[in-house]
């Protein structure tokens, strides 16, 4: 990614992160690369694994870009599901592996 300087972006996650949302979320992240990003997960009610995959891939990409990728205001549902599927909610990386 071109390292053009830009202000931090922010992304509010949809309430339902299901199969349909995975492609949408993927598209949004792709378009926001290159800047620091704050993810607002406060309104999330349901998380499917495919969206989790996209988010984790996002974390990797931002790390590669040396930009910050921050999850803020994670809803209960978001935290619980992430925990359930073995992903650390704070930094969206796999725990203990």
């Amino acid at each position: 990614m071109a390292a053009k300087k830009a202000g931090p972006g922010s992304l509010k996650l949809s309430a339902v992160l299901d199969l349909n949302e995975a492609s949408v979320l993927h598209g949004k992240l792709m378009s926001m690369r290159g800047s620091d990003l704050v993810i607002d997960a406060s309104g999330v009610e349901r998380v499917g694994v495919q969206c989790a995959q996209v988010l984790v891939a996002g974390v990797m990409a931002w790390k590669e870009d040396k930009k910050s990728f921050l999850v803020e205001k994670a809803s209960d549902a978001f935290q619980k599901t992430m925990q359930l599927i073995g992903i650390d909610t704070d930094n969206l990386i796999a725990k203990e592996i």
Binding site: D18, L19, N20, E45, R46
Partner: protein, 121 residues
């Protein structure tokens, strides 16, 4: 919020049993009598989960499931097949068509609810 269940079955008996069972369990229930009607009401019903019979006139369960899976908006909705067919071939066909799971009739209300809980958040 109540979960919404769309049931598709041509048997009045089964429709009523589903209705009673689901309503008692606190679900909102929308009912259709065959696959064609099921696809027609899909948009308005906006279900969280679908329970469908296999043997139905006009459009059977296989066709209905395929129809739902082709629908951009509802392709991810879990579909439980409600049928007396216990043989593997029918189950497989239903799965190939895109069924999420199945409930073998005669259904036990507790198991019906359990199956729905299993495939919904």
């Amino acid at each position: 919020m109540k979960k919404k269940v769309l049931t598709v079955d041509d048997s009045r008996t089964i429709r009523n049993m589903l209705l009673v069972t689901l309503n008692n369990a606190g679900f909102e229930t929308i009912q259709a009598e065959d696959g064609v009607e099921g696809l027609e009401v899909l948009e308005d019903a906006n279900p969280d989960v679908i329970v469908t019979d296999i043997n139905m006139p006009r459009l059977d369960g296989f066709g209905f499931i395929e129809g739902v899976r082709r629908n951009e908006k509802y392709r991810a909705v879990p579909i439980l097949v409600l049928t007396t067919e216990s043989d593997q071939e029918k189950k497989n066909r239903a799965r190939q068509a895109g069924a999420t799971g199945w409930i073998v009739k005669p259904f036990d209300p507790a198991k019906l609810i359990d199956a729905i809980e299993r495939v919904t958040a």
